[in-house]
Structure formats: structure tokens, C-alpha cells
Amino acid sequence: MRTSAARRNGIGAALVAALVGASCAGSTEYSGEVVGGQRVIDVAAKRFEFTPSVITVREGETVVLKLISEDVTHGFFLDAYETQTEIPPGEARVVSFTASRTGRFTFRCSMTCGDFHAYMVGHLKVLPNRTLSAGLLLIGLLGFTTLGLDLRGRRDRLFGLIPLDARFELTAYAPIRRLFKSRWFPLVLVLGNFIVLLVILAAGLLGGFSAGNLNFGVMATWILWWTLLMTVFVPFAGRLWCMMCPFPFLGDWLQRGKLVGVGRHKSRGLNRKWPRRFRNLWPVTATFTATTLFLGFFSVKPFATFVLLGLMLLGAVAIAVVFEKRTFCLYLCPVSGFQGLYANFAATEIRLKDPEVCARHRPKTCYTGNACGYGCPWGEMPFDMNRNTYCGMCLECFKSCPYDNMALNLRPFGVDLLEERRRSDDVNHRRGLDEAFKSLTMIGVLFAFFLTMQGPYGWIKDMVRATNVPSYGLFAGGYLALNFLLVPALFVGVAAVSKLASGNKHVPLRDVFVEFSYCLVPLGLARWASFSLGVFLPNGSYLPRVLSDPFASGWNLFGTASYAWTPVLTGALPALQTLILLTGLAFSLEYGFRLSHRAFQTEREAKRGWVPVLIFLVVLSMFFLWLFEG
């Protein structure tokens, strides 16, 4: 046992060394030419690419960039070095700096130059890239250490510190409970956001095809809301956004006939039930994937944002008329899927307090509703709920429970990933391939998003923004194949190797595949948080401008209408991204081994089956670190 463990450790160490080595060594081609002790590089800017798009220099060199524009007026801003200039057409501008900070930094167009202006970036590599090496080394060490600990045996506490059943009830405080029992809450939040949504729609319509980066609708939705969702709401509070989301507001009102108080419990609409076969994440995976195909439109064109959000608003109302309750939120909203899956990682949960109370209580008013509140609009059975996936945090169960038996708890991150199926879950075929595919498709989506929005290659951007239909078709086909074939096939391979390594011939491959897919959740969330910061930090400074003048009509509500575009902390992005990825990986590894125990029967099987998955997680983290920083 010891010798085989040592051998495995040796293999792991060799793998880490090889990966780190590969990133540092290799024949490096530096850009441009050294003239009189300076590295001189000709850089041409055109929509939406710099040529060369990746500039490689050596640490300490004096770098001189000769910038020209091949089409319209562009600009040049270099992260970390904070150097900036305008590049008017027909003129050459020179930027020079000493390459004192090593690592990979992004340079960006600083003058609005077209729809994809905010995505017009290039990469400066100042070698040796110590941030990348350090990150890879840390990821390797984390994997290595975890493996060592895992081989010594199962640990009950999270990171050996926090008991998994630790809870802190926020609703134990009377003011919070009173607030949750009020019919005005979370309605006030919804109403506030509904007004914001109307402003976003108006700004999108008025903005037409003007610059998205200067439009309130585009900025508020895809920069502010998206980043909040991925960095704050989902990781810390699960579906907190669903609590205040304005989209189902009109449908709720129609179904219930009352805005604040408790009205009809049964909608006068068709009140149809969503087909049982599709009460899972498949439909939302489909709507999300379909929506992301149009990234090149809605994330940059105000009118495209208007149409998308308008369609969603209309869709939510129409679905509320035809189907029962929150069918739209559960099975159609494009952003419901990853929120539901990733909410399992969140540090908050709504759960019952004392099962005894519920057992005695008939009828179950949290499911059927009463004079104080509606039966769970999300179709959950709050008395039997054990996962966050389908809990929209609408707080109706707090109002409808006569025994105050519902609680909002703080808890250790990620405990839902281990939750067994419950009776109510089985009915809806949860914790199955649908959730596994949701998790896996989010890998390919991020890869495509990153290359489009933060990658240096203009040809990819041209495909995504549909400069012509065939190249867009190529993108769409490749994107769907990546998400639904390549990545899942790779993971099937990992699961197969895991099964083989475990020595257990009887466990179905499908179960291994599904179980281990949940350990991708923390890493997935970390990946998306890292990526979102890479969008927000450079572009967040457009927000003061559009907040002061949402309709671009000359207002100056907060005196910030002339606020200049200023990337914030973008020089620290590599370090931040490394940190976030490491955190995500730590949780993924922590839960992965536990999931292995669920997938396999004996301790020995679980250990052996875990190793291939651990290696996959480490390599996947290294891949994304390389994508972000290498």
C-alpha cells in the first residue's frame, strides 16, 4: 500500500514537473527585433485584432511598440503598465515601457471602434511568466497534497476543519424572520428591479445599434448583473437573484390576481403541468446554449439586448398563462440551469428546522398554500427539500408555515453536492445526466466565451459576430459539438478510467459519470468568477457614465456622465484568477473524494477510482490557468 502510494505520488510529481517545465521552457520566440538595446515591435490595430496579437518579450527589456491603425481610430491600453495612447488612422504612435513586471497581461483598444471594441485585446507575455509557473506549481501541489491526505483515509470535516452539518440560522433573528414573513418582501426588491428592467429595455431600444459599451442596457445586464451573479450571488447565496428577479413578476400577478396579498391559489390560465419527462435541467440547458450562441449580438448591441430581454419578459408572461406556477423559471429561463446547479455550492440554504413538526402538520400548507402564503411556486416540497437546485428563495414557505419551521441557514460551501436523492427528487429525475451535462457544457461555454471576449484572435471574433453566415454556422456547429460531444466524451473517458482503476466491474459507468460530474461544480464556479472579473475589471468603469445618463440623452444624474474608461486592478488579474481557481479546485478535490465514496462501494475502490478524476481536475485547472494566464 505504502509503496504503491509512493509510486503514485511519484507519478503525480513527475506530471506536475512536466507541466510546469513545459510552460517555462521550450524554444521561445520573442516578438520584433532588438535595435540599439530596445525591443522594437510593429503593431497594427484593426477591427477587432492587434497584429501581432500575442507579443512576447523578455523581463527587463525596454520595449518600443510602433502602433498604427489599419482602419478606424483605435487606442492602446496595456494592463499593469497602465500605458495608454490613441491610434488615429494614418498616423504612427509609439509607446515604450520597461518590461519590469513578468506575466501575461492584456492590452486593449481604448477608443470605441466598433461593436466588438470591448473584446479587441491582445496579450503581452513578459517572460519568464512566474505567475503562471507559480500557479501551476500550486495547483500541482494542491492536487498532490490532497491525494496524499485522501490515501490516508476519509475525513469527515471539510478540509479537516468544518463539520459538514454546521449551520447558522439567520432567521433566528426576529427582525429577519419578520421581514421574511412580510408579504412586501421580497416584492419590493422585485418591483425595484422591474423598474430597472424597464430602464434597461428603454435604453436598449433607444440605443439601437450604437456602441454597447456606452449603453446602459448592455452594461447593466452583461457587465454588472452577470458579474454580480457569478462572483457574489451564486457562490455565496445560491438563487438569491431569483428572489429579486423581475421577469416572473407580471406572470405571478396574472396567476394570483393580487400584487401584494394572497389571492388565487390556482391560476385562471390553462394551468397546465410541465411534462414530467422534462422536469429537469435539460430544457434550461437547451435554452441557455441557444442563447449563448448569440453572444456576438446581445452582449454588444443595445437593440439585441432589448429584443432578447423583451422576448424573455413576454415568454415569462405567456408561460405563466399556459402553465402552472413558476414553470418558466424552473424549466425555461436560460440562466436558471447553472444557477440551480451551482446553487448547490452556495453557503446559504432554505431548509426546514424540525422534521417532527412537519411530520405532524397536515395539510402541508407550504405545498398547498394558505391565507398567508402561496404553495411553493417552484413546485418544491419544502418539508422534504434537501438541495438548492430548485429553490428560488421566494420565501413563500416562510409565510405559509404556521409553525415558523422554515429557516435560512449559513452553511459550509458545497454540502448539497453530496445530498442523496429524496423521494421528491426521484419523481423529477433529478441528480442525473441532465445535471451532469449542465456541469459539463459550462466548460465549453466558458472556453468559447473566453476566446471571444478575452482572447486575442480576431478570426474567432469574426465568426462569433457573424461577419458572414457560413463562418457563423461553423462557429455554431463547433460550439455545439464541443459542448455536447467533445467535453462529455472526454469525461466519459475519465469516468471509464476511474471505473477501471477502482476494480469495481459492477457499478454502471453512467453512475460514475453522474457522481463525479458534481465535483466539477466548485471549479466551474471559480472558472466563471475568474472569467467574469476579467470582463468587469477592465469595463466596469463604463458604468458611472451610463448610470448618470441611462438613455444617452445628456443627463448627468450623479455627475459621472463624463467618467473616462479606466481599467481597475487589471494588473492584478492573473494573481486574482490564480487565487480563485485554487480555491475552486480545493473544494472540487475536497468533495470529489467524498463523491468517489458514493460512486464506489469499498474504501479501496473509492481511493483507486478517485485518482484518475483527481488528475483530471488538476489538469483541467492547469488548462484554465494556462488559458487565463499562459
Binding site: 497594427a44 498604427i68 489599419e70 482602419d71 488615429p88 488612422p89 494614418g90 498616423e91 461593436d115 445599434f209 411534462p275 419527462r277 422534462f278 430544457p283 437547451a286 435554452t287 441557444a290 450562441l293 448569440f294 449580438f297 448591441k301 437593440f303 439585441a304 429584443v307 432578447l308 422576448l311 457573424a466 453566415v469 457563423y472
Partner: protein, 260 residues
Amino acid sequence: MSSATASAVRFGALLLLLSVLYFAGMFLLGRPRLDSVTRPAPLSPHLVGDELSLDASSGVWAVVEPVTVTLFPQTARAPYGTERRELRVRALRNRHEVAFLLEFEDATENRGDTPHPDGCAVLLTPRPGPASTQMMGHGRAANIWHWTAQDLDGEVEGEPYADAGARELAASGPGTQAPFGAQNVVGRGQWQSGRWQVILRRDLEGRQPGAWNLTGGASLAVSFAVWDGAKGETLSSKSISVLRPLILSSSSDENVSGTP
């Protein structure tokens, strides 16, 4: 087909329909609208058997009707041009040479003895160019036949010019223009009662690296420029035309080269 499969198909079809509609709408609305864009007619030098005379009053020039080309102030780079002008262009070729006769109004004759002599130019750049109006062959090599109302002989040391005032330049953007090593363009200008008549002529063969062949089948675009010295125009301060295709038919040409 089970009812579940049917539902899935219905759902998929609806999603696909919405997606296609959204894509089509955004794609079509975002497409360039070219209704306010001028597409100038191609210019095709008329094939003649005679010599291409540098004298505008020669009978050979009478065989073609002039084409009117509108020139606008140059507005891509300061200092800008000042005037909108009409230029009358005749283009001729024989088996060896191509010539352009440019006629434009100019109230005052400004020759080389004034600070800013009058001038005009023909620009040739490969088609399809980087852009229909991009500056001076920006990002692409352009040939410029530049005529100024002065005798350039001996002005630049070691660069003898074939005829008064004409220079053949290579350029790939503003400020990059440089004379070719060998000068094959000849030009002559004559001012009479408020009008310049300028002829620029060159061999069909480029004869040196970077100089375009004008033999049949060459795919080039041409534009024109005029400087009015009396208005202080010099360098980028000028009036220019939009690029238009230059058609050099290969049918009756013996030394066909280039693409079919």
C-alpha cells in the same frame, strides 16, 4: 413516437425557430446599408493604334469622351483639403503605354516659382483594395503618378526625370511615398484660361519591383488628386476622388499577363 418524444421535438422546434428568427433579425439589421454609398463607374482606357501624345490638342485625345470625376476635400488626415472639384478624365492606351489626360478648373496658374505649385496625381492600387477610400494605399502598395507645375529636373540629386514635373512614387499609406529608382512616367501640363490640362503617361510594364503592370487582366483601382497652390494646398491638403476600378481588357493584347 411517444408523447415525451413529441414534446421534446415540439420544444426543440420552437427553440430552433426562435433562434433562427433572432439570428436572422439581428444579422439583417446589423448589415451594412449601402444606399448612401457611391459606387463609381469603372474607368477603361480606350485602345488606340497611335502614339499617345503629350499634347492635349493632338487628335488622338479627341477619340474619347471625358469622364467627369468628382473630387472631395481630403478629410482623413490634417491638414485637410478645401474644395470640392470636378475633374475631366480621358484614358488611352496603345500596345505599349497608358496615358491619362486630366482637365480641371483653376483660376490662377501657380508654377514652381510660387510657394505652392499646382499639381495633380493618379493613384493605382490593387483591387480589391484594403478599402474603397483608404488613404494612399494604406496597408497596400500603391503607385502614384504625381505631376507638379514645376520642372523637377535636377531637383533631386541623381534622379533624372523623363519629362518636366512628373514623378512615379510608391506608397503604402500617408507619409510613406518615395520615388521609384527608375522613373517611367512622363507628364506635361498646360494652363490656359483658367484650366489645367495635364497628361501623364507610363509604359504598360511596371519594369521594377512594386510598379504595377498595366497589361491586360491586371486588377487595379484608380483614384485622382488635385492641388490648387493658390489656396495654399500642398501635401495632404488636396482634393481626391474615391477609388474606382481600372479595366484593362486583355482581348487584343499580345503580352497578356496576370490573372485570366
